[in-house]
């Protein structure tokens, strides 16, 4: 008999397969429609967190301001249709391009900083964006937020004869986009650029002596992760049909980073796990919701102290020790 797999599947294929199966099979266990909504939020957060895997996990750079890019993406979807007459989907793309450009501009000076200084500078950037969104009420509606146009996909499908509930549609759409995002990040990991990013993470001086233009690669990781955050923010605005400056809030940045390091910053599957746990918990345990930020802070501290590599790598090591 021929073996099932001619050669063992790669980590990339395994990750994509697991994600695909989880996304496809989970709805069979949903007790109510509400869980489609929870799933959607998990995927949308998972997308931003996948971007942070590139920045934090591959390149080893920190950002406490990525909610700023999510805010940009969200408001692009809110403002694009109103002010520019753009369809929401095109506004999402415009937001992603603008976020990438802004990340490129901001990242050049900021990424020269290291450690705490980089953390504080990115934090400052995020605070700036959320303040602009809250204060420029003439454009953004201020702290009250503004309505967001319908993506229009459901109508499109309906005219094609396909009827699907709104919550379900968003579940599948967000799941698909997360898969695409995971695929890109996994491609990057074992590519020449991915090796350059991971090498500068471990030793900048050695990376430079093998020819890596450290500033350029840090910047590209920053831009890539900003685009992920922007698309994630756009999707959140589009699925909620509403947006407030809270999306760019410092606490949202912290949530994203917590999700990234909880699962294990180095891997896409770890990112998905972090997003799953920290998005689902407050939704399911509604009693927790009030203390959400306290719980996040606590989890972040505990992970840093006890599982510095993140949940999955630590579990993996534990299991391996048990087996051998």
């Amino acid at each position: 008999m021929r073996p099932l797999f001619a050669k063992p599947i790669s980590a990339k294929q395994a990750t994509l397969l697991v994600l695909l199966l989880l996304i496809a099979v989970a709805p069979a266990f949903f007790p109510s429609n509400f869980y489609y909504r929870v799933g959607t939020l998990i995927f949308i957060n998972g997308l931003a967190v996948t971007g942070l895997v590139v920045l934090i996990g591959y390149a080893g750079q920190i950002s406490l301001g990525h909610a700023g890019f999510a805010g940009l993406g969200a408001y692009a979807c809110a403002l694009g249709p109103v002010h520019l007459g753009l369809p929401p989907a095109l506004s999402l793309v415009l937001g992603a391009v603008l976020s990438g450009l802004l990340a490129w501009l901001v990242g050049r000076p900021i990424l020269r900083l290291k450690g705490h200084y980089l953390a504080i500078a990115t934090l400052g950037f995020g605070v700036l964006v959320s303040m602009v969104l809250a204060n420029e009420a003439w454009l953004t509606g201020g702290p009250d937020g503004m309505a967001v146009a319908d993506l229009g996909l459901r109508g499109l499908l309906k005219s094609a004869g396909i009827k699907v509930g709104n919550a379900e549609l968003w579940y599948w759409l967000a799941g698909l986009i997360l898969l695409a995002g995971a695929w890109l990040a996994l491609n990057l990991k074992d590519s020449p650029s991915g090796r350059a990013l991971r090498s500068l993470h471990d030793s900048e001086v050695a990376a430079r002596t093998v020819g890596v233009d450290v500033a350029r690669y840090k910047l590209s990781a920053f831009v890539i992760s900003a685009v992920y955050a922007s698309v994630s923010g756009s999707l959140l605005a589009l699925t909620n049909r509403f947006v407030t400056p809270d999306i760019a809030n410092f606490l949202h940045s912290i949530e994203l980073v917590t999700m990234t390091v909880l699962g294990g910053a180095g891997t896409v599957i770890g990112a998905a796990t972090g997003a799953l746990l920290l998005t689902a918990l407050p939704q399911v345990l509604t009693a927790l919701q009030e203390y959400e930020h306290i719980v996040f802070g606590l989890i972040m501290m505990l992970v840093m102290i006890f599982l510095p590599d993140g949940l999955l790598p630590s579990l993996h090591r534990l299991l391996r020790r048990r087996v051998s």
């Binding site: 695929w183 890109l184 990040a185 491609n187 990057l188 074992d190 590519s191 020449p192 650029s193 991915g194 090796r195 350059a196 991971r198 090498s199 993470h201 471990d202 030793s203 001086v205 050695a206 990376a207 430079r208 002596t209 093998v210 020819g211 890596v212 233009d213 450290v214 690669y217 590209s220 890539i224 180095g266």
Partner: protein
Amino acid sequence: MTLLSVEGLGIDFGGVTAVDGVGFTAEPGRIVSVIGPNGAGKTTLFNMISGVYLPHRGRVRLDGEDVTGLAPNRLAERGLSRTFQNLQVFLRMSVLDNVMAGRHLAERGSTLADLLGLPSTRRRSRETERAARALLERVGLERAAEREASALSYGALKRLEIARALAARPRLLLLDEPAAGCNPVETEEIDALIAAIAAEGVAVLLVEHDMKLVMKISHHVVVLDHGEKIAEGAPEAVARDPKVVEAYLGAHAGREGSHALG
């Protein structure tokens, strides 16, 4: 034909002169050893030549071009490659990935193509993997290819750094104590490896405390003491130079002095 020429190189750290007025040349296919007691300034000299430190005085030329103060990655583009005395391995990457990362200049391309996993990207990765596996075989680490670098022994990491440096196909290779911490058998192997690298036409600059190794494979020896060049010449001549003997005996009445003499 001169590949590297160093002229009057010097640097101070907080008013203390670490290296001053050092000059010498290196040619393709030849091994130049830089020796001297601990703290003589050998590593600092390497750091200035490879762009890690910005020299305060003097010039570094490659092929006659003034490359003083160029960034390490720019020097790498011009064919300079190095290893580190205090190990700068990519510890979270696999052994194979470490060597593959060394081929960055040959395999780099557009990051967008890498994100999309285009065929050109995958072809470049395959070529890099083939080259990296051949190099791992050359340094005797082929069976450790898939292991995480942090799991290797000190001596193995030293060889891994040599393989990574070779992956860039350098014209000038700087090796900072490649045999430190290696047992006599490993030292013997590294000795043969360095000679073979030079025989292929690479200009090798070697810092090494193992005098037997230095005397055996060097074509030319430069001696530093307190940051200054105190002697230079053929290995046998340098070993007999009274100034050299005194520097070693003065610094360490024991081990290294007798090596230099013997």
